[in-house]
Amino acid sequence: MGGSYYSGPNYKKISGSDFKQQLNLTTPHSIDLVRKLVIPETLMVSPDIKKIVNTSLGGRSFEQNELKSPEFYINSSSNVETHIHDPRISINQLYDRYRFSRGTRSLGTLTIGTPIHQLEDRVMDSNGKAHYFDQLPEVKELQYRFSLLAQANEAKNDDDFKNIKKNLKTHLDTTHKQDFSLLDDPNKNNTSSVLDPSRQQSFGLQIHAPGAFTIHEISENPNSESPWDEKRTERIIDPYEHVNSNISQKLKEHKNEGLNEHMQGLISAYNQLWDKLGSGEYTRHPNFWGGHTFAAGEDRNSAWSKINQSLTGNNDIFRKSE
């Protein structure tokens, strides 16, 4: 029993300093660089689930025809129990070893038949191929560049910036591969992995933005005569896993970039995206979500002012222009 009763990392941020450790994934979520998932408001779900789905939408409304079909997820079997989890973990939860699904908090179960929809945000490229918006190369670039603004802001010079990037822990640093995603996504590569938040080394890493969630499925096999734990099969679906992978991957690719290159990259990705949307090289799906920052009817300046509004309203490291 010698030594400490303490084990594992256990710290809180001093505001303003935590950026050196954590990727800021809130930003891409709040400016529509990440797909939005919703549960139709007419359905009865628990207030906690409702809240997280609403946050995911950024509090903005959508039309019924802007839902992508078929639904992103639906549980139609009575043998399967579906929980929605808040994937973020607190220090207390981390140490609560008696908790089922230790590490994350269940916000409640979904009644059978409740669909989770993705808002339609696909675009067609010039070859006629459809892409999810958050998988467009320019958008992937923007996800990374916006996520890292906090670190860039902290950095005093290029070397400092490179150094901060070098020390960031990312999604790819956790070797624990746990699950397969339901996403039938043609662009998905097989190096992806789902973070297991119960593993301590991943703590301190804001892998999920507020408003993100994971879907936990527990299936029971009623015919099994084996003990309780053998009857269960658990599966975790992380709808934002591809975004986390992308940002981690880009962090590796761009590890030698300085501050100036980082900002130039942001400008050029932003302008290229608008150039392509403007020239018709990217065509939005007819039901593309109307509330989207990059929806039809917006241009690069109006979208920027929307981004400006979302960031200054939601994130205390951003400030309105003077």
Partner: protein, 417 residues
């Protein structure tokens, strides 16, 4: 043979045996606890380790490892009190309100810890027969089938087969009559200790730690007498220590030592008055009269109060230990930014070890932008969670600009690029 482990890795002494954690002390320490509001397990777990309980004030050492609510009960100390009177206890409708945490299921975690620490060979045997060895790994199936439903199905199948295999191994072991620990070390030790508690504490009908486990184990050893090794010598010694410890406590032993420790730490620059809002002070309304109400049991020193670096020391009292060096231990936490390292020092080592530790902490000041959560707690700043807790923090907000180019140029201005 028992193995003895020094209670601190830095301890170099002539008598390792007396200065080590005795296997059975494990239970005793687990049985004591810090009283908290409501029903709280009397030992608890943090990370992978059991939090060592501390006898902080006298009343816990008497066997009333109780919640502070008891202080507020008018019948305290009289026949009418439920813990003093079996009839009244029944009236509570619950036999173990006072001993929540001592009953059977709770010992399982303790058991694992016990074997890991004192009999690793048993732990290994457990792993081999009942543990996770050979469990199918999902990534192997992904490698074979890709990220497909098939991979998932195949893994599920293999996983179930593996679990069944494990079960049959277990059944085979049971059929052979070979338990994992053939000598039943844990059960023997637990019965020794719980019997002791029964003799020492429960003669007046009170409940006692390990009551459920005690009766179950008694039955078990009645059926398997060849496995029982009572270790009477240890139990007698242990009881003697416990009695002496209680007497020492009642005669004000804690006080004298605490005053001495407080003086010596004060000379080094530690203070007892550091917490934000009366934390670290005993708030008992009717606590032990031997201990003044304002007495702190922890100390703090920091090279610079503007920075999250410092040393927090908790004085732990172990009245049942015979070795004077082990009666008063200092749990020392070094906070350096986001890191904390902890150690246990005998009070005798204050002058020899602490100055070096203080130098270490000073040399690291200012090198981390983070603060350890437990330092916030120790300083009583928890309710300030979103502010900067008074420590230095720099935060330069990002100005968004009117368009993307304007944003980039504002962002880069003032930076050395």
């Amino acid at each position: 043979m028992r193995s003895y482990k020094p209670f601190h890795p830095l301890y170099v002494g002539s008598n390792i045996k007396n200065n080590s954690i005795h296997p059975e002390d494990f239970f005793t320490t687990a049985a004591g606890g810090t009283a908290k509001t409501g029903i709280t397990p009397l030992f608890s777990f943090k990370g992978n380790e059991i939090i060592r309980p501390v006898f902080k004030t006298g009343r816990y050492a008497h066997g009333d490892f109780d919640d502070p609510l008891e202080d507020l009960e008018p019948e305290q100390g009289t026949e009418a009190h439920p813990y003093m009177n079996p009839q009244a206890m029944k009236h509570w409708g619950c036999h173990s309100r006072n001993w929540y945490g001592y009953n059977q299921g709770s010992w399982n975690h303790l058991k694992q810890q016990f074997y890991t620490q004192y009999h690793p060979e048993v732990q290994q045997r457990w792993d081999q027969y009942l543990g996770h060895e050979g469990r199918p790994a999902p990534e192997d199936f992904v490698a074979e089938h890709g990220e497909t439903q098939k991979a998932w199905n195949e893994w599920s199948k293999a996983s179930l087969a593996w679990q069944r295999g494990r079960e049959s191994k277990q059944k085979a072991l049971e059929a052979e009559g070979k338990p994992i620990d053939e000598r039943q070390t844990f059960r023997n030790a637990l019965l020794n200790v719980s019997s002791l508690y029964k003799d020492a504490l429960a003669s007046d009908g009170r409940n006692f730690p390990g009551r459920d486990a005690h009766s179950a184990l008694k039955k078990y050893f009645e059926a398997n007498p060849h496995l029982r090794s009572p270790n009477v010598e240890w139990a007698t010694q242990h009881l003697e220590n416990l009695k002496n410890g209680i007497e020492d406590l009642q005669s004000g032993g804690f006080h004298k030592a605490h005053e001495d420790i407080s003086n010596r730490l004060g000379k080094l620059g530690f203070t007892e008055h550091f917490a934000g809002r009366g934390q670290n002070e005993i708030n008992s309304t009717t606590g032990n009269i031997n201990i003044p109400k304002t007495s702190a049991t922890s100390f703090f020193w920091s090279p610079d109060r503007q920075e999250p670096y410092g040393i927090h020391i908790e004085h732990e009292y172990h009245p049942y230990n015979i070795d004077p060096d082990r009666k008063h231990l200092l749990r020392v936490h070094l906070f350096t930014g986001s890191k904390r390292s902890s150690m246990i020092l005998p009070a005798a080592h204050i002058e020899t070890h602490l100055p070096d530790l203080m130098k270490t902490v000073s040399s690291k000041t200012g090198k981390s932008g983070l603060v350890h959560n437990d330092l916030i707690k120790a300083l009583g700043l928890e309710n300030n969670s979103e502010s900067d807790w008074g420590f230095k923090a720099s935060k330069q907000p990002i100005v968004m600009g009117s368009n993307v180019e304007d944003f980039a140029s504002k962002f880069l201005s003032g930076k050395n690029v």
